[in-house]
Amino acid sequence: MAEQNTHLSSLLQKNEQSLLTQWIEAQQRVIGTKISPQELKIQCMDFLRLMVEATHQDKSTSIDGPAWVTAKKMLAEVSKSRTNQGFSPSQTALFVFSLKRPLFDLLRKELVDRPNEFADAIWAITQILDQLGLYTAEMHQRSREEVINRQQADMLELSTPVVKLWDGILALPMIGTLDSNRTQIVMESLLQKIMETESEIAIIDITGVPTVDTLVAQHLIKTVTAARLMGTECIISGIRPQIAATIVHLGVELGNIATKSTLADAFKLALSRTGRSVSKTTTHSPATGMRK
């Protein structure tokens, strides 16, 4: 299979300008002006130059050799920038595949009287361009996965706030699903915060949790038990009627855990347990808020 792309390097070099024009046109027909003409031109010029080098050094039809490293690196960059600009995988791979037509046209002109050579050259170029195209699509996929991983990490960070409501009273508003690894982190950060603030009461609000099944209940019970061992009482709030009915049918016993339907009720209970109360002031002015 060696020495298969004998024509490619010189062919590319000789016809760089006309290839470039046709290649850019072919891409613009599909992606329009999603990418600026100058940027596209620079990308195409750079890549053609790298392809000339690579095909000059490596005469095989594989892109796994060291000669292709720089070209592939550039493809990865192009792929990444197109991913960020919202291109689909096929639109991204088009960068490479759209080079086929102009190249084939060129070959036909050059090798018009040598059909055998023409067929060989077509096959060699197809193999190379297909691999490069697939590589681009793969890179596109990888960039997407990076975005997803980063977002998942962001969510872990963002969704675990432990809020101090009052001296000795913490609140943990839970949002989303509670049966993932996240739950563990949420629970651990609560226990950590309890220790730091030496709080007497922690309110776990599950208003934003759509489903409470046995695993979620188990997580909640474990957290409450752990907090209790540290000397902190927990109140679970945000138990809506449908969740209450479901828990009952499910047969889960929340035992002696204090529960309230709203965060406000839980806060009131927490205040009274710590010997405080909220009352209206006699002078009804908006500037006067709650009193300790």
């Binding site: 759509p210 046995t214 449908q242 009915a245 049918h249 889960v252």
Partner: protein, 132 residues
């Protein structure tokens, strides 16, 4: 009538199962409490499929009986090791894993109809139905 299949291979598939079931029950016009009950049962059974059945799939069907009442049937199928003693598995508080042991029996209470077939070494099939 209507038929949909969902794979249960990873933890995040369970989230997708819940979402799909919740959407379908809402579309069928179930009340909020029933939506929550059905979704919770689906969550329990999907997790069983993943943890004990080593993955499988869910078949979701919408039904209509002779009286024109509509309903939903969820069938969880796995090719896992199977359940040795179904009566024991349906006992409140029994678990062969780390859970509370309430998932299977709880799902039965949350739904109207419940059937379970299991064969050692072949897999398990749990089918639950809720009528409106």
């Amino acid at each position: 009538m209507n038929h949909e299949e969902l794979q249960i291979r990873t933890q995040s598939d369970i989230v997708l199962v819940r979402k799909a079931v919740r959407e379908l029950t809402a579309k069928l016009g179930f009340g909020l409490t029933d939506q929550t009950k059905i979704t919770t049962a689906a969550s329990e059974l999907a997790r069983n499929t993943l943890e004990y059945g080593l993955g499988g799939h869910l078949e979701m069907e919408t039904l209509k009986n002779d009286l024109g009442k509509s309903g939903i049937r969820l069938t969880f199928i796995d090719q896992g090791p199977g359940i040795a003693d179904i009566a024991l598995a349906l006992t409140d508080g029994f678990t062969s894993g780390k859970g509370m042991g309430m998932g299977l029996s709880g799902s039965k209470r949350l739904m109207n109809e419940f059937t379970i077939d299991s064969e050692m070494g072949k897999g398990t099939r749990v089918s639950v139905t809720k009528w409106k």
